[in-house]
Homo-oligomer: 140 residues x 2
Amino acid sequence: MKKITIGEASRQSGVKVPTIRYYEGIGLLSAPSRSEGNQRSYEPADISRLVFIRHARELGFEVDAIRTLLILQDDPNQSCASADAIAKARLIDVEQRIRSLMALKVELEAMVAGCGHGRVDQCRVIEVLADHGQCAHNHH
Amino acid sequence: MKKITIGEASRQSGVKVPTIRYYEGIGLLSAPSRSEGNQRSYEPADISRLVFIRHARELGFEVDAIRTLLILQDDPNQSCASADAIAKARLIDVEQRIRSLMALKVELEAMVAGCGHGRVDQCRVIEVLADHGQCAHNHH
DNA sequence: CTTGCACCTCTAGTCGCTAGAGGATGTAGG
DNA sequence: CCTACATCCTCTAGCGACTAGAGGTGCAAG
């Protein structure tokens, strides 16, 4: 029975120490047992859970979505329809973001290309920002 | 001299009323004159400024960056090198975000496609989240 | 004159952490 | 055993960019 300190858990999971305590506070991670001196003592299962959370966060899932995914993970007999729905919603969101960012990219490229590196009154960057009508994404 | 109320300014600029007040509070917008009854009274120039800010926010510029852009806009004799630099930095950021999101998209698609719509213990969504080693972006 | 909307200020909440204060614990060396 | 030092503890406050709500005032139409 080796005791895993919060620092060790952090190193193994890649989740920062204050973030681990934060996750405990918001109920994503259940409170671990404590040492005699009141220090948190984790088990391997907690590390797995932290890795799960970190990975989901990296994929942009919100904490509420992760909460649901963790509940599903804890009960393997359930249908995975919810997990599927959450992942699909996230996929749609990511696709939407990519589309917006592509539009932004086009507009920013035009701004940067149009900048004659002269004075501000000839600068397309400022001009485009000031007058929405001149810009690439006035589709709304 | 028609007086523009904050509500009218909001309608014309597309910036919400509390957000206009917020912008005034953080010094993005200078405090307008007031009516006898202490109500804010805007001028057309303020509307242009709000449109400028809104558009810049839509393009993802941070408030600090917008502050700099507004200073540049107010002094058209300045070199537009700063504006150019800010726009270029933003472009690089957007490109980076697009790359990350594309990687995410690939991974989420694999998750969704791999979900057999059965029980959680056969669900790739949960599985991939639990085990980083199985996923598409373990390049770090 | 009254109704009702728009306006005012102020505080607190959102999300997902992060930083810092001020103190206790655990460990390694002398 | 003592000391030094890293790590741990709790608690509160701050970040960015708003948003929501309470509690009160102004103003225009009927």
